[in-house]
């Protein structure tokens, strides 16, 4: 009787090998060494896998601690690191630049039942992320020609384009009060509890001074008139409509002086100018 033919196990493709190792690292189920074709098995395999999981978690945690200081202060280091690990495993990074690792954390927090009793946390994370993004946003490009256009133009045809280094963020929660409180070395917990209990909706205005790239972004509370004004600008409304939205109490001259000084504006668009009209179409 002839011996049974010996079949050599077909080689694994590199793509398959890499998919299986990635799956072993990120998947919550117990991983099997044989699937990724590594030399190590048993305890050696588990140790190697743990080293990569530990590295990934440490890289993500380190970056997220910088990107979400308010959430870190609210949760404390241990709970925050546990959140980071579960986020990293559930929403693995899409980019090789850790500056973006926190992009989906606010939305992820909203999905967690364990944090459902802290419904303000996701919006606090959104504010942290806005501050992080503004710290690296391009400066405003507002020029003297923009100012001339603003002085000479028709308010019904002009619109103000906000700089990429400013961000308006609305919340049903007192996010600015919470942000400020957690910046303190010794937070006033009674004031924080009171702010949450009062459940005041707030809109944050986040901006970075255009002449100092090293400066940390500012976070301010927008009053109701300024909030309506910025919302109208964000929506691309013309100056006359935006001013109507803001209401009579809004001081446009004072706002404009500050906007130019702090670099909140990028450009003035004129719908009557052919190139701007196309841009705004």
């Amino acid at each position: 009787m002839s011996p049974a033919p010996q079949f050599k196990k077909p080689r694994m493709s590199e793509a398959q090998r890499q998919r299986e190792l990635i799956d072993a690292i990120f998947s919550p189920r117990a991983a099997d060494a044989s699937c990724a074709g590594t030399q190590q098995n048993g305890a050696q395999w588990q140790m190697g896998l743990a080293a990569y999981r530990g590295n990934g978690r440490a890289h993500a945690c380190n970056a997220l601690r910088v990107q979400f200081p308010t959430v870190l202060a609210m949760l404390g280091t241990e709970t925050f690191d546990a959140l980071c690990f579960s986020y990293w495993r559930t929403c693995p990074p899409r980019r090789g630049d850790l500056a973006w690792v926190g992009e989906e954390l606010p939305a992820y927090i909203e999905t967690l039942e364990t944090l459902a009793e802290w419904p303000w946390l996701a919006d606090c994370a959104r504010l942290d992320w806005a501050v992080w993004q503004m710290s690296g946003a391009p400066p405003a490009t507002f020029a003297e020609s923009d100012l001339r256009r603003l002085v000479d133009g028709d308010p019904a045809a002009l619109s103000l384009k906000l700089s990429p280094s400013v961000r308006r963020l609305s919340s049903a929660w007192p996010i600015v009060t919470l942000y400020d409180a957690h910046r303190q070395a010794h937070p006033d917990w009674e004031a924080i509890t009171r702010a949450i209990a009062q459940n005041h909706a707030q809109t944050a205005w986040v901006w970075r001074p255009h002449e100092d790239l090293a400066a940390a972004p500012s976070v301010e509370l927008l009053d109701a008139a300024s909030d309506r004004w910025i919302a109208a600008l964000d929506a691309g409304q013309t100056l006359d409509i935006a001013l109507d939205s803001a209401g009579e109490t809004f001081d446009f001259a004072a706002w404009l002086e500050q906007a130019i000084r702090q670099g909140w504006l990028d450009a003035v668009a004129d719908r009557h100018a052919p190139s701007d009209a196309m841009g705004n179409a």
Binding site: Q18, I22, C91, P92, D97, L213
Partner: protein, 297 residues
């Protein structure tokens, strides 16, 4: 007597920025992680621009994931290309690793880590293709660094030095020899004589690679954690790594050498002390080589 210019450098990390600018130490170059400086509008970009006015800068990436079968991220490459244009670095390097792969319903993810590649023909083809694409975009050769790997693959067609020598032949890229990574791998493989194993690795590469293939050396510290030696750059360069470094200098000649220290950063003077030690070893080898050349002439 004219002083010999310094060859060696340090990895510049954010907590040391202020001291670095105040001390203005004599160094051959400064190395930074490319990804930390992708954004041209943040404070770090200003710091790097200021450093570049006084020092040669080597850009060392951790995110290209050049061994990934799904290819490199075009957006990442464009950001690196823009940084290279701004900084005009003396060298650009990254790792011979993969990190990008499709996962579950999420599409292509990036592990933000340096995951091991197999030393196979298939893996070499992927690496050559990706390195070729990057070099074409950057219009300059890359240096590829050997990994510390906590898992490795059973299938292999090459020894690691053979794999890298072949990569250099096919793409024209250079090599960044991380001596600490070799030591970490030797220790994790329970080699009976880890130092000898590292020296053998260096000998094999020196014997088969094209002259000038190795363009830079990295030295760092490691730590023992949960049954493994981890390349965490958290401590001084260990004595066995210094010994292996001496061997590398003997085989490869003096090369720009970097002290990497990323975790538990020491006082800036300690980091400079490590760089000075590497500088002294390089200088000794330069002198020895000159003497031998003089005798031969």
């Amino acid at each position: 007597m004219q002083s010999v210019p310094h060859m060696n450098g340090i990895g510049l990390r954010q907590p040391h920025y202020r001291e670095f600018r105040a001390a203005r130490p004599s160094l051959g170059f400064v190395e930074v992680h490319s990804e930390n400086f992708f954004n041209p509008h943040d404070a770090a970009a200003q710091v790097l621009a200021a450093v570049r006015r006084d020092y040669a800068v080597s850009l060392h990436g951790v995110g290209l994931a050049l061994g990934s079968a799904c290819g490199v991220d075009d957006a990442h490459l464009e950001q690196l290309a823009a940084l290279v244009e701004r900084i005009e670095p003396v060298r650009v390097s990254d790792h011979a690793c993969f990190a990008r792969a499709p996962w579950s319903q999420r599409g292509i993810i990036h592990a933000n880590d340096l995951l091991p590649i197999a030393f196979t023909h298939g893996s070499l083809d992927i690496l050559c293709s990706n390195v070729g694409q990057v070099q074409e975009r950057l219009k300059r050769p890359l240096l590829l660094e050997n990994l510390s790997a906590y898992l490795d693959f059973a299938e292999r067609d090459f020894s690691e030095p053979q794999f890298f020598a072949e990569l250099g032949r096919r793409t024209g890229c250079g090599f960044l020899l991380d001596v600490n990574n070799l030591m970490v791998n030797a220790l994790n493989a329970d080699e009976p004589d880890p130092l000898q194993s590292v020296c053998n690795w260096i000998d094999e590469l020196a014997d088969i690679a094209a002259p000038g293939f190795v363009g830079e050396i990295h030295l760092a510290g490691f730590s023992a954690q949960a049954g493994l030696i981890i390349d965490d750059h958290s401590s001084p360069v260990s004595e066995p790594v210094w010994q292996a470094y001496r061997h590398a200098l003997k085989r490869l000649g003096p090369l720009p050498t970097l002290i990497e220290w990323d975790e538990h950063l020491p006082a800036f003077s300690v980091l400079l002390g490590e760089a000075a030690k590497a500088e002294a070893l390089c200088a000794a080898h330069r002198v020895a080589r000159a003497a031998v050349a003089g005798v031969a002439a």
